[in-house]
Every structure is written in C-alpha cells, then in structure tokens.
Subunit: 326 residues, 2 copies
C-alpha cells in the first residue's frame, strides 16, 4: 500500500462490494443509537450521547450485515445495534479505569460526568444491548451476545491478573485476545448469520480470527506508533502493565528485555525506549506476520457456499483489518 | 417488636409459611452461584467468589420462589440466580465507586483486586446473569431482566445527576427509588410468576411496592442508625451528596436545614449533627409511615386468586421488610 492509510477507505470499498443495502443499514444503526441515547433521559443523552454519536468505525455492525447476506430487516439492525452497544459499554468502562479524557476526539463520559456516572453509563449501555436484542425474540441470539459479553469481562480480568508479569506466554496472550476482542467479532458474525438465515459456524469462526488479528495489530501499533497516527504516545500498554505479543516475542530475542522489571517503566520516555528496543529485535515484524497468517486462516474458514459478492466483501474486511496497520 | 431485630428471622418465618420446597430452592441457588464463581477461572473465583459466597439475605431469589407458587424446576432456580447475579453486579460496582473495603463482613472485590478487576467482575456477573437466564429460552423473561437492569443503571445516573441538590422533590426521590431498587424486586416477582405459569402483573406490582418501601426504610436507617446496627456511621448518604426522603421531609419543617449547603457536610461528625437535626423534625417517623403505607398498598395488590399459603408467605415478606427497621 503506497498511500497513507485511511481507516475509512477500506470500509467504503467493502460497502461498494457488499451491495447498495449496506449503507442504509449502517445509517439505521446510527439512528437507532441516537434514539437510544435520547430515550433514557437527559443523563444518558448528556453522557453516552457524545460517545455514541462520535461514531467509530462501526466495524462490528458492518460484520453483522455482511454475515447476513442480503437480509435487511429490523431484526438485523437490532442485532448490529446491540453488538455496538456492548462494544461502547466496554469503551466507557475502559475510559473510567484509564482516566481517559478524550475518545474519538470528544470528551469521555468519565471526563464530563465523573467515575460514578461513567460506570453507570457503561452498565446502562450494556443492559440496553440486551433490551434491544431481546426484541428479536431469539434465545439463541441472546445466548451468543451474553456469552461474548462474559468473554469480554473474563478477558479484562485475565489482563488484570497478568498485569506486570513479564513472563506471560504466547498462549496466554492469545487466550486473552480471544476473550477481550475476538469473541465479540465472532458474535457479530453469528448474529448476522442467524438473522440472515444462514449457517453461523463458519462465518463465526471467520469473525473470531479477524478479531484476533485486529487485537494483535492493535498491540503492534501501540509499540510501533507513530504517535501522530495513534493519537497517544508509544508504549501505553507497557505503562499499564499490559504485556502484549511484541514484548513476548522480543523477550526471547533480547535477554535484557527479558530481565526487565516492567514496574520500572514509569513514564512515556522510558516506555519509548523499551518500544525502540522491542522494535530492534524484529518482534514487531514477527507479530505482524502472525496477524497476517491469522487473517489468511480467516479467509479459508469462510463457508464454501457464499456468493461471490459476499465473499469479496468479507475478504475486503479482512484486508481492511490489516490495511489499518500497513 | 420487643426483641432485637434479626434480619434472618423473618426469612425463616417466611420459609416456614411458604412450604418445604423453598429451602431446597434457596440451597440450589447457593450451589449455582458457587459453581458460577468457580466456572470462570481463578480470577472470578478469587474476586467475586467471596462476594457471592458471603451471602446476603437472598431476598430477591426468595421473591422469585414465592411468586412461582409450588413450582420448583431448574428454570426457576436459573431465574432466581440471574436476579441475584444482577444484584451482586450492582453491589460490586457500588463498592468500586464508594471505595468500600468490606461488604457482609468480607473484603470487597475492589479492596482485594483493585478498581479494574472490580469493574470487570461486576460486568462479568452482569453478563453471567443473562447467560444464565437465556437457558430458560423465554424472550419475555430476558425482557423483564434487561428492562430492570436498564432501570438500575438509570437510577444510578439519576442519583449522580441529583447529587448535592438539596431541593430534590419527593417525586424525583421516589422515581429514583423505583429505578434503583423497586424495578428489580418487581422483576424477581415477574420472573417467578412467569416460570410458575401464573399471572405476572399483580404480583409484579406487589414486588415493586415492596422494593420501594425497602429503599425508603434503608434511607431512614442511614439517618437513624444506630451505627452498631448498620455497621457504618450515620449520614453516609449525606456525605455522598445523596439526598433522601428524611432530608426532603425535614427540609420543609426546619428552615435552617433547607438553607444548608450539603457540600459543607464533610465528615462523620458533621453528618451526625445533620442526622440529629433531621430526626428532631419528626421526618424519620413521617418517612417510616410512608413506607408502611406503601407496604399496605403492596398487600392490596396481591392477586385475589392466590392460595392462602402463598398469600401468607408473601405478606410475611412484606412485613419482614418493615421489621428490619422496627
């Protein structure tokens, strides 16, 4: 890729491939999210309204729609909205814990409302997701979303339990990524397939691999920067005590990194130095290669019976996950 | 009541009235809660296990069972477990916000695991509630629980929005209690009725009134103490900026209380003085009377067709709510 990566471009391309109905569906999700923010009184409108309206890539709703084929009913919009609400809930809670002031360029709920309001707002978005999805009258769909929601929280707990542990294994790291990220991507695909009347396992497995690659590449980006692109300094994970794949791979190549007490990495300048050192081992390239292999796996997992157009659109999403980090 | 109130006594009496199957059902809820704490890996077992195992009154599961009549299937246990999980999730999040060190005599999740682990643990308990209830394959039951969960979070947001506002009206206060407490009591009754195959509206309305009275009396107790009974000093709500019915009623009787800037009440000694002043107006008795009226209303709302034994058990629960505060 020669041009500067633009995260919205692959999405535009996907929509072109997927069919004319997808932009309309995404617009209906925006409208539904806006209506929900308004419909819970001024407190939610004030706090969560900003977070919800500020958008984001809406990658998970897009996966719901692509997994559903040509379906475009209200049930599909509800499923996509529910997945995005769960995702938004976790962002709001993450911001509370990180004390983050800005997200997507707008003030966070914790910045405007304080910790109490932000914790409650996350809880409300989460409850709202189930209230939304239950209207599809499908216990199977609720099961998919509640299982993914459990996984999200378990992943967060695993991350906390492993904090500052420089010896975390690759397997343990991947397990955490599965729980924290991949399972909600899988849920998005499964919900789309269920609403669209298609087979859910193959496309669910695709979504899960894509989500895993997404998290790996996100973790690479935290080490590689540049800050001008990510909007935050390099090594924020290290400063949080979160050990990710680049460090795990670099540790095996650089004994001094392996011997590092992560708690001594306390400020952005120190984190930057560790990032340089990780990069010097070639671990970032190795982690990227691993993510690309996972994306290739994902494409292989797409069901054989998919229409050419649907397959093309899903493959573009897979490529888009990679392109964000090219 | 002449003897010192013992919160477990009315429950024992209720169980005796309700029938021999109720203790077995409550025991199955305990076992299920313990299994869930074990089943999410060491992180949840460590953190939430203690909270869950430490018990509590299990008033909400009891309501589920009483509302279900003679039913005793696994679906009923799942419904009761789900309601208790939602309740536990809110307790864990409340403790994060209050920085509470002990609950029910055991260390809180936030005390043992920190804010991050506690926020994630609350999220997990919440997600687990839906994963549990979905096994009943009833969208209607999921709707009841998700609506109540939304209400809980909205009540929390309302409380934060009204913090330090000495001019909060009685209506606004009652609205907050409905959202924060009454709606989950109602959900417990509705779920029981749905699983038991009975009519859910009347018994749901009963549960809602009982929950409202429960919250009113809890707020009275925060002002009346004694600390030896509540385990915390008097006036913790005032120190949090939470304006409750005793203050609202006292404000109309004592102009100096009405003129008070709540932000100047900053330490337990100051809160104690305000509590004394509220008590001197007779507002505590007025608030208690209001709660008793609500309990009487609740009993009136019980469906006419209930068996004598079931009615007796539910009325005992209603009386038990009052007795806790006698």
């Amino acid at each position: 890729m020669e041009t500067a990566p633009n995260p919205t471009e692959p999405v535009t391309e996907v929509i072109r491939a997927a069919g004319d109905h997808v932009p309309g569906l995404l617009q209906r999700v925006e409208e539904r999210l806006a209506a929900l923010a308004e419909g819970h009184g001024p407190a939610l409108a004030e706090h969560a309204g900003a977070t919800i309206a500020a958008g984001g890539k809406r990658l998970r709703p897009l996966l719901v729609f692509l997994a559903a084929g040509d379906a475009d009913g209200d049930g599909l919009v509800r499923a996509a909205t529910a997945v995005e609400l769960v995702h938004s809930a976790t962002l709001v809670h993450d911001d509370v814990l990180d004390g983050a002031v800005l997200r997507r360029g707008v003030p966070t709920v914790v910045a405007t409302g304080g910790r109490g309001a932000a914790t409650a707002t996350g809880d409300l978005l989460f409850a709202r997701a189930f209230a939304e999805l239950v209207r599809n009258a499908s216990p199977e769909q609720i099961r998919v979303l509640s299982d993914a929601s459990c996984a999200l929280a378990e992943g967060e707990l695993l991350q906390r339990a492993d904090a500052w542990d420089a010896g975390v294994s690759v397997e343990r790291y991947l397990e955490r990524c599965e729980l924290k990220t991949a399972r909600l991507f899988e849920a998005a695909c499964r919900l789309g397939a269920l609403e669209g009347g298609g087979e859910a396992d193959g496309i669910g497995a695709f979504g899960r691999r894509i989500g895993l690659a997404f998290q790996l590449l996100d973790d690479v980006l935290d080490v590689s920067g540049p800050a001008s692109r990510t909007g935050k300094h390099r090594g924020t994970d290290l400063l949080d005590g979160t050990v990710t794949l680049p460090y795990v791979l670099a540790r095996e190549r650089d004994p001094e990194l392996a011997a590092l007490d992560l708690r001594t990495v306390r400020d952005p300048a120190a984190a930057e130095r560790v990032c340089d050192r990780i990069e010097a081992t070639g671990a970032l390239d190795a982690a990227r290669r691993r993510a690309l292999e996972i994306v290739d796996d994902a494409k292989e997992l797409l069901p054989a019976g998919l229409s050419g157009r649907r397959r093309a659109a899903l493959e573009l999403v897979a490529n888009g996950v990679v392109a964000r980090y090219a």
